[in-house]
């Protein structure tokens, strides 16, 4: 039987919209799960994805991708490639797997919500593929590390991390719950697929894929490149949703949804990708700094695309540009100093040659951040590495859940005050790292005010005993799993501090 060209049947099979007669529109699309923002249903029915695919094509494509990927995995598994990875890269991959793998399953829940509560049949069709995509990503990113467990037992954090109360995972869950698990389908299309996936996952997945290939980790590079091909497709659910909102006069709604999630995504990417690019990737394999990646992929390409829809850069744009100079350097210091609280071995990335690179990419780095490494390096050389380990905890932000590093921004000359921002609400004190984080919280206090940060739990008696070992146990970190210096302090002995540094 002759087959019809796809264009002759595609619209008919995916556009199964109809008027409800036995139930109300509100019953089918409750606002909590699908906030239509008052846009008429016929407008939603114009939803048109820029990238078309049928189920048969989808299965064919995905099967081909998996065949290639598992071939690479099978070959690499029999080699010594993994054993020869440099410590910094190992740190980056362990961090990635723990932070991302199970979150992909969670994203599958989000896609499933859009597959049911998306306001148009064509959208629900695309979201179904998105749900399958995210399930695939969860499976791949737990299976690949599982295959290498005999080489690095902490790769089990690819599965374990999400089920713990490790502080970074509390931050990740807080973000992802806000973005999809506790979000409605329409808002999610703007915040997950447009803001996060179109804007940011390119940075994590394309950037890290390129770095992975350079360091020789072809397994990881092939994995995340394959994942990104799915992301690039299902991320396109955002654009038609955005167009409909703007065309219906809901530009302010779209702008607000975008602004809230763009800032939140920035904070987590500064923590995850910022450290990987500027500190964990071996120096000889770095092509761009994190700031350069941000400027090229996010600030230029993505924001230009955003402006094409008639929207504006977020109100906090200057603060974002400001933080790009310093915040991830502070986060790296924090992760290194509090390394027992993470499941990977952070490398300092502060040997003389690395410091010279940082100074070149971030002029003034030695004076503003090198000074901390000078003190820590001196303590190591004096035989007191214990002075580079924590005896208390950093206070974390009640929005992003990341330690408050405002003093670093002040000390480096980028902030006018080292003080965090405080908010007293309903008898409880909340602390924030920045105006945008406080603003995010205040946009929807009901969404956030009941959440307990790791510090709130510590002070509230949830963590027992209230000691460092008690907190590590609460985070699911046994002594064998706690992070240690990734190079056994080799950085501190590499040579004397570089010329131009402070504290020499």
């Amino acid at each position: 039987m002759p087959r019809l060209p796809r264009a002759d049947w595609y619209d008919l099979t995916r556009d199964m919209n109809w008027d409800f007669s036995y139930v109300t529109e509100e019953d089918v699309f409750p606002e909590l799960l699908s906030n239509g923002y008052g846009v008429p249903k016929q407008d939603w029915w114009t939803w048109d994805e820029p990238y078309k695919i049928t189920y048969a094509e989808y299965v064919h494509n995905q099967a081909g991708k998996d065949a290639g990927l598992f071939t690479v995995n099978n070959v690499v598994g029999r080699s010594k490639i993994f054993e020869n990875l440099e410590p910094g890269w190992m740190a980056a991959t362990l961090a990635h797997y723990g932070a991302i793998a199970v979150g992909e399953y969670q994203a599958g829940i989000g896609e499933a919500r859009m597959a049911r509560f998306g306001r148009a049949a064509s959208w629900r069709n695309m979201a179904t593929y998105g749900c399958l995509d995210e399930t695939r990503h969860g499976q791949l990113q737990t299976y690949f590390p599982y295959q290498a467990l005999n080489k690095e037992p902490r790769l089990d954090w690819a599965h374990k991390a999400y089920h713990t109360n490790e502080w970074g995972m509390i931050a990740a869950r807080h973000l992802f719950d806000d973005m999809f698990t506790a979000n409605d389908a329409v808002s999610m299309a703007i915040q997950l697929t447009f803001t996060f996936e179109t804007g940011f996952t390119n940075l994590q997945f394309l950037g890290m894929a390129a770095d992975a290939m350079k360091v020789g980790d072809i397994d990881f590079g092939a994995l995340i490149s394959s994942i990104q091909t799915d992301e690039a497709r299902h991320a396109q659910q955002g654009e038609p949703t955005l167009k409909i909102l703007v065309a219906a006069g809901k530009k302010d709604v779209a702008q607000n949804l975008f602004d809230r999630m763009f800032w939140r995504a920035w904070k987590v990417f500064a923590l995850l990708t910022g450290l990987s690019m500027d500190y964990y990737t071996p120096l000889e394999h770095r092509t761009h700094s994190f700031k350069e990646f941000m400027e090229e992929f996010i600030n230029t390409q993505f924001i230009d695309q955003f402006r094409d829809f008639g929207l504006e850069a977020p109100w906090y744009w200057d603060q974002l540009l400001n933080e790009m100079n310093w915040v991830h350097h502070a986060y790296h210091l924090g992760v290194y100093y509090w390394r027992p609280t993470v499941w990977w071995n952070p490398v300092a990335g502060a040997a003389p040659a690395e410091r010279a690179w940082l100074e070149e990419k971030y002029p003034g780095w030695n004076a503003s951040f090198g000074k901390y490494w000078d003190v820590m390096g001196e303590n190591v050389r004096d035989g007191h590495p214990e002075l580079t380990l924590p005896e208390t905890f950093p206070v974390v932000c009640n929005a992003c859940q990341i330690p408050l590093c405002t003093p670093a921004g002040y000390a480096a000359g980028y902030l006018s005050s080292p003080l965090p921002l405080l908010l007293d609400l309903d008898g409880r004190r909340y602390t924030f790292c920045s105006e945008p984080c406080k603003w995010v919280f205040e946009q929807d206090p009901g969404q956030f005010k009941g959440h307990l940060s790791i510090i709130d739990r510590f002070l509230g008696g949830v963590i027992q005993p209230p000691t460092i070992p008690g907190a590590l146990a609460y985070m699911g970190l046994s002594p064998e799993e706690c992070g240690q210096d990734g190079t056994n302090y080799a950085w501190a002995y590499a040579s004397a501090p570089v010329a131009g540094g402070v504290g020499q």
Binding site: A330, L333, G334, Y337, F369, K371, Y372, D374, V375, M376, N379, L387, T388, P390, E391, T392, F393, P394, V395, P403, L404, C405, T406, P407, A408, A411, P418, L419, P420, L422, R429, T431, I455, F458, L459, G503
Partner: protein, 81 residues
């Protein structure tokens, strides 16, 4: 005497830390307790005395948490005099 958590910042440091002090501690003791977590560890020591600053005001050495009216989780800065 009661345990009293504050947010501590050491001048020149990069992070805000959780510091348990006692509400009867003199500010000199509070300063030492906060400084302990930063000076000599991430911040180079200076041969100068330091003070506690709260809401922009330097607190008297002989004042205590209780007498100043600080609230739990207020931000206290340790600054060089």
């Amino acid at each position: 005497m009661a345990l009293f958590p504050v947010q501590g910042i050491v001048e020149g440091d990069f992070v805000v830390v959780l510091v348990p002090v006692d509400d009867t501690d003199l500010m000199t003791v509070v300063a030492e307790k906060i400084a302990y977590h930063g000076i000599g560890k991430r911040v180079a020591a200076q041969d100068r005395p330091f003070k506690v600053r709260w809401n922009g005001t330097v607190l008297a050495d002989d004042s205590t948490i209780a007498t100043t009216g600080c609230a739990p989780m207020d931000v206290l800065e340790v600054v060089y005099a």
